[in-house]
């Protein structure tokens, strides 16, 4: 995996909450046994008309969002199925960063991204950034007002900067282990195999129920 350090790109907005992985990459594209070729089918059912022409009503088809590298969206992005194809599609389309807000509800904070989607993102070097609802509202407003608005993410400093005449910066949080993983572009299996003797030892003392040994 390529390390993720900083990224500057055009910001696109998708003003929908609970975007599920069935929308991100519909099921007919999961039949592939490859890891490539998903970008052109990202958001397929929203993005294309029945005649396979781009749907002009779909947000990301707007001329001003072409070439975008940062996607800003709403709460609970990536819910639904575990398909990692969703992350492959987003990356292969050209997004390196997805930003979504957390949500306050009944005294608890609901994360911006669904669990499995977020795990899959980390494994593929797609950075998911959670910001406050007000900050995300502000970004939506600014992208509306300033076509072509770009942003820069600095993962080391945990900063997201909007390139306006007067720059606006937000701080974001991320688990130290996830940050390290992305910054160094680490291969998880290699890392785990460093603990192979621990796994062997565990297996010797672990009581396996069922399945004859």
């Amino acid at each position: 995996m390529e390390p993720f350090t900083t990224f500057r790109g055009l910001i696109a907005t998708l003003d929908r909450a609970n975007v599920d992985t069935d929308q991100i990459i519909p099921k007919q594209f999961l039949k592939s046994i490859k890891r490539t070729g998903f970008g052109e089918n990202l958001f397929f059912d929203w993005r294309y008309l029945p005649n396979n022409k781009p749907n002009p009503e779909f947000e990301l088809n707007a001329p001003r969002f072409q070439g975008a590298g940062i996607l800003v969206t709403r709460n609970n992005f990536g819910c639904g199925s575990s398909r990692e194809h969703a992350v492959w599609a987003i990356k292969q389309y050209g997004f390196q960063v997805v930003i979504a807000p957390w949500k306050e509800q009944d005294g608890t904070r609901i994360p911006g991204f669904a669990d499995i989607f977020r795990n899959n993102s980390v494994k593929n070097g797609l950075l998911t950034i959670e910001l406050g609802p007000d900050e995300v509202d502000q970004i939506f407003g600014l992208v509306d007002r300033f076509p072509g608005l770009e942003g820069t993410v600095n993962l080391e400093e945990l900063r997201f900067v909007l390139h306006l005449d007067e720059e606006i910066a937000c701080h974001f949080d991320i688990e130290p282990t996830v940050k390290e993983h992305l910054l160094r572009g680490l291969d998880d299996i290699d890392l785990t195999m460093e603990h192979e003797s621990d796994i062997e030892q565990f297996e010797q003392s672990h009581s396996f129920i069922g399945v004859p040994d």
Partner: protein
């Protein structure tokens, strides 16, 4: 302080705590299917790695499988994916229950059926509905393809520790109200992200009274509330289910008795603390019907399609979009929405009890005119059992299609799909746009509700329904 069911299993499976708060967690069982595994096996080949524990890894094919014939797969790309799994299992020495096996079926149906799923284990699969297995008091959750590869290679996963969430259902369910209604009610209450970051434990009187298969339905849809895993403490119902018939991978005799000792120690201690708790009065729950495009957009069957600005937790724009997609007008009673298709199937509701309960409602009746009714058993074993009980005849006499095991119209990755604009009462788990076929409109309900809808051509409140 006492420990929760989740904590007890988690602690028993931590191989090592790694710096930065990551835990290396041992995985007891790994289920594999054709859709999320090919790239993982490709990864193993590229790096010259092997499958660490072939004896803990079980494969079947379900998503792509046609349910009219298991011998002819017309779609070349689906066929290639199925053949890839056959080759991968042969090359890496993994047990495969393929299309010719009488053990084939939806991965979350065959796991419990074969005794692969047992209390106190950790279990994963490249499929979000792996939460199903939590019904046994198993820590079971869905993973992506990179994690599938990681488990194949190391039999472990690198995980951050989730938080715990206890949902207690007090009182007893009303007649014709099922565990499907419990979970839909919960999702309607907390939303589709309300459980994100948590492992849910379902508890309370209403849960204790549920059969194992009903418990699987509720745990299955934990992911629809955002929770990767849902669990229910094992009890006599659990032990009896495991022992009641031959399950090739379950322990027997002395091994079984020894396992029960471990299993009985698993339930959350009385003084265990959860990060979050919620109490729901189960006796007040009505049959549920979804009206929108996610499982949280759900109402009592007595309700009406909401106005766009009266749905708590959703923006007007999102509700507008859902209503437009679903072709619904605010104010329409849910019982007055005409249906085109009824689908009885999926890892949520295609076990033998689901088929028995729906057959009891359909027996001796005829389906509504112009309605398509599909009954798709969750596994070949469920199919055989149903045929031994004559349920297939009940369905066929009713006018339903009696099909072979597979995921079928739950996700339409195979030929079973809704057409543009078709409206379906479905016992599956997701009513997302296009889920059952592009432009298809899904209403999620229990098997009983689906069966009654198949008679009338629209939903009814089973509690007050009378029919000719």
């Amino acid at each position: 302080m006492g420990k929760t069911l989740f904590e007890k299993i988690w602690e028993k499976h931590v191989v090592k705590e790694l710096p930065g708060g990551t835990f290396l967690l041992y995985i007891d069982r790994h289920l594999v299917h054709e859709v999320t595994s090919p790239q993982a096996f490709e990864g193993l080949r590229m790096t010259n790695r092997n499958v660490r524990r072939t004896d803990r890894t079980f494969a079947t094919m379900d998503h792509n499988v046609p349910t009219d014939s298991h011998s002819v797969i017309k779609d070349a790309i689906s066929r290639a994916q199925i053949e890839a799994l056959e080759k991968n299992c042969a090359d890496f020495d993994i047990e495969l229950y393929g299309l010719n096996s009488d053990r084939q079926g939806i991965v979350h149906v065959i796991g419990p059926e074969l005794g692969i799923t047992l209390p106190g284990l950790t279990m994963v699969c490249g499929d979000s509905h792996t939460s199903t297995h939590g019904a046994f008091g198993t820590l079971a959750f869905g993973i992506g393809t990179s994690e599938v590869e990681h488990v194949l290679a190391t039999q472990t996963l690198r995980q951050l520790k989730p938080k715990t969430f206890k949902v207690e259902f007090t009182g007893q369910l009303q007649p014709y109200v099922t565990s499907k209604d419990l979970i839909l009610k919960l999702i309607g209450t907390i939303g589709t992200a309300g459980g994100t970051g948590y492992v849910i434990e379902y508890a309370g009187e209403a849960i204790r009274s549920l059969s194992m298969e009903a418990r699987m339905t509720i745990c299955n849809m934990s992911i629809e509330a955002g929770a990767r895993a849902g669990m229910i403490a094992p009890d006599d119902t659990t032990f009896q289910y495991i022992a009641e018939k031959e399950r090739p991978f379950a322990p027997l005799n002395g091994d079984f008795d020894q396992a029960v000792v471990y299993w009985k120690a698993l339930p959350s201690d009385p003084d265990a603390e959860f990060d979050r708790t919620l109490i729901i009065e189960a006796d007040k729950i009505a049959p549920q019907v979804t009206w929108g495009t996610n499982p949280g957009m759900v109402l009592d069957v007595t309700g009406a399609v909401p106005e766009p600005d009266e749905v708590p937790g959703y923006s007007r724009r999102d509700v507008d979009q859902a209503l437009k997609y679903m072709g619904l007008t605010p104010g329409t009673k849910l019982t007055e929405i005409p249906l085109d298709t009824v689908f009885l199937g999926s890892c949520t509701n295609a076990r033998i009890e689901d088929l028995r309960r729906s057959a009891n409602i359909l027996r001796g009746r005829k389906k509504a005119d112009n309605l398509r009714v599909m009954v798709v058993p969750g596994s070949q074993q469920v199919r055989q059992q149903a045929e031994a009980e004559g349920l297939d005849e009940v369905f066929k006499d009713f006018g339903a299609e009696w099909r072979l095991a597979g995921c079928s119209m739950c996700l339409g990755m195979n030929p079973d799909q809704l057409k543009e604009g078709e409206r379906c009462a479905s016992t599956s788990n997701r009513n997302f746009e296009g889920r059952q076929g592009k432009g298809g409109r899904t209403h999620l309900v229990s098997p009983e509700m689906a069966a009654a809808a198949a008679i009338e051509g629209h939903f009814v409140d089973l509690r007050t329904w009378t029919t000719e």
